[in-house]
């Protein structure tokens, strides 16, 4: 055996793509998919980019595939919604060089706004789906996905889930395949999807899926493990691991290709086992199809469609062996919070003071919804803050939104927020949009974007100027304010929310977790001056705690020296020690 390495599922997907000879990769970051692109970018042989959103990324990959090279696009499950427009139609076009779409679902909703199941969308788009169950399979199946893509003339979805993407396992490393570029061929009937051509291609798509379904029974990635045949389980992905852990003696049909299903193989397996179970996280996608063939199987009447599964869950539900344990009582919850020194906290503290509601967006600043800030009222999807605010104004009138703003991050404004802002200008809105510019994509782990001046490969590039962009759309009132200058911010927000015109306030300060961020110093309390008013605690900085007698302490290992607490203190009871240069 050759070299092995312990790898995250996502890193192994990147490795597989590298080995498969992928030339072009595009993506927009999104947990749990981000590390695929980050790792792929490390290979010099691969062009990898962050695109402004998943639709653009998908189209970049489609273009690369049509030109004749192997191409990949990766995204989280809700990113697939954004990319659906090109992908549904690309299903008709097919590929020239292999085209693989990595989609990471989030059962358990660790870092998302919903729990949708990619397999449902894949069925609607008539696209095949492969599903690995550990890091090594993530590598192997990615290679397989490229091969199948070219063999069947179809984009192929490789579906992963949070647990797989963010678990590490041992991976066997192989070399990069030498895949020669294919020539580009002009083919209007195949590549120009206008009605007459699309009608013909729809027939092809249907035949393609039928042919694949027939062949799938002999795919090496669909595996039968016969043991005790009194119980048989059909499963796939990470759920396979839970089944093996809990029921080592059961017979298992492990599906590597979950769409289209290998009907012949499934029928054969079902006929050889006495009792058939289907164990799949999220929606009953396999179950409903299998049952539609008249096969008796138990699934979602036993298992939930919500969240992640586990071996203990299978022990309890299938083996009737519930695991008993005593959970500690009175353990306060610890939900995620904005970090010490986070500029979003400063902005929200001003909005809170002014009793302003925020139509929020997707990013760390969604945490402005929870106590003690309680400023964000709505969160839908990427970019929705601006359009939701616009809808409110059109429904209730311009006076209604004088105590509202939209809050959106720099890395969320560029993907889709910019369209919504254009709409406000076009349709004569008067709302106030706040772009919380922390110079990065914070929540997903600090990825660059079109306004940071660096590419995914860390090459210097032109940084789109958000101020100039907004001005170019015809917005007269665009202001840049230091996110920690709370007096100025208060003044500007008060003025602009009253203004009968679209205004944009860009609050600026870098994310405190950026590697380039250096704290200016540390704050500390001056107990003899403290009157225990609690004003410093209002913004909810985790570095500040109050003991029962009201005394306030600042944890110097956590403080990032933003000085927000100091600015809020009217009694000079918080001091600041600058860091030595």
């Amino acid at each position: 055996m050759g070299k092995t390495k312990i790898m995250l599922g996502n890193e192994a997907i990147a490795r597989g793509a590298y080995e498969a000879g992928v030339k072009v990769s595009a993506a927009y970051p999104g947990t749990p998919s981000t590390e695929v692109s980050e790792n792929l970018a490390k290979y010099d042989e691969v062009y990898a980019e962050w695109s402004p959103n998943e639709k653009v990324a998908a189209e970049v990959a489609i273009g690369a595939s049509l030109s004749g090279v192997r191409a990949m696009v990766s995204m989280k499950h809700v990113g697939l919604n954004v990319a659906s427009d090109p992908l549904y139609t690309c299903s008709y076009i097919g590929v020239n060089g292999g085209l693989v779409v990595i989609v990471a679902d989030d059962p358990g909703i660790y870092s998302s706004q919903n729990e949708q199941d990619t397999r449902m969308i894949a069925r609607a788009a008539m696209l095949p789906v492969l599903e690995p169950s550990d890091s090594e399979e993530a590598r192997v199946f990615t290679v397989r996905a490229f091969e199948l893509s070219e063999e069947y003339d179809t984009p192929v979805i490789l579906r992963t889930t949070t647990r797989l993407s963010h678990s590490q396992g041992v991976v066997n490393l192989c070399g990069r395949k030498d895949i020669p570029d294919k020539p580009y061929e002009r083919n209007m009937q195949k590549n120009v999807m206008m009605p007459a051509n699309a009608k013909t291609r729809h027939v092809f798509v249907e035949q393609r899926l039928k042919r694949m379904a027939e062949d799938a029974s002999s795919f090496d990635i669909n595996k039968v493990e016969y043991n005790d045949t009194s119980v048989g389980v059909i499963t796939s992905g990470i759920a396979y691991q839970y089944v093996k852990e809990a029921m080592p003696s059961a017979s298992v049909l492990k599906l590597g290709c979950v769409h289209p299903l290998p009907k012949q193989l499934i029928c054969e397996f079902a006929s050889k086992v006495d009792k058939l179970y289907i164990v799949e996280e999220l929606e009953p996608v396999i179950e409903e199809q299998v049952r539609s063939w008249g096969i008796e199987a138990a699934g979602k009447e036993i298992f939930t469609v919500q969240g992640e599964y586990s071996a203990n869950m299978i022990r309890e539900k299938l083996l009737n062996e519930p695991v008993s344990y005593t959970v500690s009582k009175d353990v306060p919850a610890r939900p995620p919070i904005l970090c010490p020194g986070c500029p979003h906290r400063s902005v929200y503290s001003v909005l809170k003071k002014l009793k302003i509601h925020a139509a929020g967006d997707i990013g760390c600043y969604t945490l402005g919804a929870v106590a003690p800030l309680n400023v964000v009222d709505t969160t839908v999807c990427m970019g929705a803050s601006i359009s939701v605010l616009h809808g409110m104004e059109k429904a209730k009138g311009k006076d209604y939104i004088t105590h509202w703003v939209a809050t959106i991050g720099d890395s969320t404004f560029l993907p889709t927020g910019v369209n919504s802002l254009m709409n406000m200008v076009y349709n004569k809105a008067t709302g106030t949009v706040m772009i919380l510019d922390n110079s990065t994509t914070g929540m997903t782990g600090h990825q660059d974007h079109a306004a940071t001046g660096l590419t995914l490969k860390k090459e210097e590039t032109y940084a789109i100027n958000l101020y100039a962009l907004c001005r170019a759309m015809g917005i007269e009132h665009v202001y840049e304010v230091d996110a920690f200058d709370i007096d100025e911010l208060e003044k500007v927000v008060k003025r602009e929310t009253q203004r009968e015109a679209v205004s944009v306030i860009i609050t600026k300060a870098p994310c405190a977790l950026l590697k380039t961020f250096v704290p200016k110093g540390k704050c500390h309390t001056i107990p003899e001056k403290c009157v225990k008013c609690g004003q410093c605690l209002v913004p909810g900085c985790p570095a500040i705690t109050r003991s029962e007698d009201g005394t306030v302490t600042i944890d110097d290992t956590m403080c990032n020296g933003c000085g927000l607490c100091m600015k809020r203190c009217k009694f000079d009871a918080i001091g600041f020690v600058p860091n030595e240069k």
Partner: protein, 189 residues
């Protein structure tokens, strides 16, 4: 070998991921099958975070479940209490004697429990350490996570030399010395 289950729990931002990387490194070197499961994304922002590490001849699921952990490494006391039921009856709890108040406590909607260590010690084996104090002695509070790892390493099957070698391979070059010192401070305590 029967699969060994280790859990690392703490507060997002405490550096649990480095600890699990070192663990993954040493286990892989020893030639075991291994799976690690981590939390990325939103929970990393000050939330309760868990890392699972499982190793043995053949490992299937990447998570450790209730009642299965041989070693539970808690970077914070409240998190030790939250996950204590994951320990086996004879499992060891390594707990860093540090309190980080969750926002629910800061805002007054909940109370930080008292006597956590005493309660935990009642029915399980507990090793407590003030890793932050040890790290301060070494002049770098950031390496407190490796101090905890050093303490936990005593409940695992690898030698000091193996640990130091893996630390050298995994941490950034500039921090090798301080991290090795931090490990030894925990290991030889």
């Amino acid at each position: 070998m029967e699969t060994k289950n280790i859990m690392i729990v703490g507060v997002g931002g405490q550096g649990t991921l480095l600890t699990s990387r070192v663990l993954g490194g040493i286990i892989t070197k020893a030639g075991y099958d291994v799976k690690l499961s981590e939390v990325h994304g939103m929970a990393q922002r000050g939330g309760s975070v868990v890392t699972f590490v499982r190793y043995g001849d053949k490992v299937y699921e990447p998570i450790v479940e209730e009642g299965q952990a041989d070693v539970l490494i808690a970077f914070e006391k409240l998190e030790a209490k939250r996950y204590a039921h994951f320990l086996k009856k004879d499992g060891v709890l390594i707990v860093n004697d540090q309190e980080i108040a969750p926002m629910t406590v800061v805002t007054g909607s909940a109370k930080y429990p008292e006597n956590i260590l005493e309660d935990l010690k009642k029915d399980r084996k507990v090793v407590a350490i003030d890793a932050m104090a040890e790290a301060k002695k070494l002049g770098n509070t950031k390496c407190f996570n490796v101090v905890i790892l050093g303490v936990a390493a005593k409940s695992m099957d690898f030698t000091k030399e193996q640990w130091l070698e893996v630390i050298e391979e995994i941490v950034p070059k500039k921090t090798v010395e301080i991290n090795q010192k931090a490990f030894i401070a925990g290991f030889e305590r």
